[in-house]
Symmetry: C2
Subunit: 414 residues, 2 copies
């Protein structure tokens, strides 16, 4: 089965917003073994919606039309798709009553045109919207399948994962063909990582191993086709175990929705350890990233942004002599920051981050030079020098520094 | 003039990465008065590149084909576009010598196939690549224009802004038709903001005023067509001045590349004031955002992440009685945090952020409840209660809290 994603929206066509829906859906379909060959975007003009849908039907088995299901007159997607398919609109009256009921507390007279959000394609199924008003639609036509989905990303993702994908899997068996698992890595270049995994590829020839470079990690996907679930699980488990044996320095988790910060928080919780940090170039981003994880308060009480040299001394007792002798961006300063914040807060683990975010050099060290310090109670303090790529700007240097520090903590806990 | 953007790349078609290039180019073209009606994405398969290019030529004046200009065999875009246009490839030999020269230190024998990066469309112009190897191309064909551009975003943006747009403006006069200016707002809902601006729209009927909701701001674009540059400037200045009179609470700047953090840092620099913060729910994100701005060290020395209640007392002397009596999420605690960090660091301005990021409620207060404190030396400390939308998750609550705090600082400095 191959697919085309048609996105409707003037704001996307004109470049006012990025089309994240198409990527999300393409990824979901790919994981289910459906190959996305075409993505088309056009504006809200009904004739172009019709044209785009017809053109997609001329070359793709599955056509997903996304966006333009709002309650107002410029939301014409459902009618235009009906037109392209030679069908008409059907009303889900129960849903229309529910819409009116839910709007009543806020809107005295619900406009009659809102009824369009209760319409679907006559002869097809309607798709419930788990988090919004507009119904989606699923329609079969000459062995082709057309899906219509809402535009707001929250509604879109909910309908794709909870309604569309389960139906595609059940009705068209997309799922049967494929099993996959995602492994997460940080800190090893993609080409070297894939070289490392060559023995695993040879040992498990049925498992296809592919890599995807993400902004702050490398994902390795293990995929297996044409076997039953139990065999698939055995093969994936076997390959994963062998990878974990080889790649001990960069692997941090398997599964969906895994982040390095999440893995670190999870490990700290299990060990009942508290962490803190003193941040210079990252200026709070390490601590903020730890606290993206719900429940971070179990392992984090607070920490410091020690941007200026004198605050390193004042807040956490980094001796000014250390900074004077070794420089702000040095192993000694990073170690003293890590120990200083750990002892001041009374945590088990202290992390120090100091470096040159750029654009300018500092103390003769180029942008991208970073020292990390890691002070674990009862262990010798470690430091690590990074030479990060600086050509994507200071924000990128800071993000890489945070991720590297998280990896350093993760490694020390493993 | 209307345009179509054709993106080539298997990684984008399959949803492994988001297509940010198309949005960037669509926005650039829109600002120059070129309407983008279609965007098409397909994979690296040469026959589909030819098909997509031909189809775009059947409906669009300007066709921009983006991606697939790398040095390897699966980078076939330039040849496929030549095929679609009925032309062939031309070699820029000087550039090919330069490629070989620059690769020599790293690669002994430069592969002969790398020559593809020195190719362009015969009968057209080549476009220099300001930051990479691959040439782009510009080609005129029956009053239509085809541009071929590289895929890596850094190279893409550089070639679009430095090479493509100036040529389009010069050769096809796109620029003559349109002058625009972007104003930046935060903290007022889009519909109310646009209601506020109605008198300005009536007073300046030639100036088209449109709004664009961005994740952390609302952009209002003023556009004027069909007048000379001096008249345009007068009209835009007049409309902007009137808007600035009306919207005193939400406006924070005019121009490209303006951020609220940048505006705050700029103002602090001008006044030689130093800022600090004590952050609870945002856990360092406010300070980290301040430090996205190069030169932040002129106005920021450091600050605190006071996540746990006892650290609020220990680090910056927030009396535990205040927290006990009023709660962690309260006006009194936010004020004490703002004053406490200001006085501990010795800064001019202290900001306190405390609230409920979610997903769970805290002390009976729902996710999205946030108190901000602002303590400016010599002024009475202010606090502000926010009820932020929590349905997009805890990260969104924290980002909105940071932006609201920046706006509170900006307002107090104005």
């Amino acid at each position: 089965m191959n697919a085309e994603i048609v996105t409707i929206g003037t704001e996307i066509a004109l470049g006012q917003i990025t089309n994240t829906n198409a990527q999300f859906l393409a990824d979901q379909l790919s994981r289910a073994g459906v190959e996305v060959r075409w993505q088309t975007t056009t504006d809200d003009e009904p004739s172009r919606i019709v044209q785009a849908t017809r053109h997609a039907l001329s070359r793709s088995d599955l056509v997903c039309v996304c966006g333009g299901l709002g309650p107002t007159a410029d939301d014409t997607t459902m009618a235009a798709v009906a037109d392209a398919l030679g069908t008409s609109l059907a009303l889900n009256d129960e849903h229309w009553q529910a819409i009116k009921q839910s709007l009543k507390p806020r809107i005295e007279d619900v406009p009659a045109e809102n009824v369009r959000q209760a319409m679907y394609l006559k002869g097809g199924q309607w798709l419930p919207n788990p988090v919004g008003m507009a119904l989606g639609a699923l329609y079969e036509h000459n062995n082709q399948v057309v899906a219509v989905l809402p535009g707001p990303p929250r509604e879109f993702k909910a309908m794709v994962t909870q309604e569309l994908m389960p139906r595609l899997n059940k009705q068209y068996g997309t799922e049967k063909a494929i099993f996959s698992r995602t492994l997460h890595f940080f800190g090893r270049p993609e080409s070297l990582l894939m070289d490392d995994l060559k023995p695993v590829m040879e040992k498990w020839p049925q498992v296809v191993i592919t890599s995807y470079v993400q902004p702050l990690e490398i994902q390795v996907r293990l995929t297996i086709h044409g076997v039953n679930e139990m065999t698939a699980k055995q093969q994936l488990d076997g390959a994963q175990a062998d990878i974990a044996k080889i790649e001990t320095g960069a692997f941090f988790g398997a599964g969906e929705g895994i982040t390095l910060a999440g893995a670190v928080v999870e490990m700290l919780k299990k060990r009942s350890l508290h962490i803190t940090a003193a941040e210079s170039l990252t200026a709070g981003m390490f601590q903020s990233t730890i606290c993206t994880v719900p429940g971070a308060s179990n392992i984090f009480d607070g920490g410091f942004v020690t941007y200026a040299a004198e605050q390193k001394e004042k807040m956490i007792g980094v001796p000014s002599a250390t900074v004077d002798e070794h420089g702000v961006v040095s192993s000694a300063t990073a170690a003293a920051m890590a120990e200083g914040c750990r002892d001041t807060v009374g945590a088990d683990i202290g992390v120090g981050l100091t470096g040159v975010a750029g654009p300018d050099a500092l103390e003769g060290q180029p942008a991208g030079t970073v020292w990390l310090g890691l002070a674990v109670k009862g262990q010798e303090t470690q430091t690590k020098l990074l030479h990060l790529l600086a050509h994507n700007g200071r924000q990128s240097v800071r993000e890489q520094a945070v991720q590297s520090a998280l990896m350093m903590v993760y490694q020390s806990l493993k």
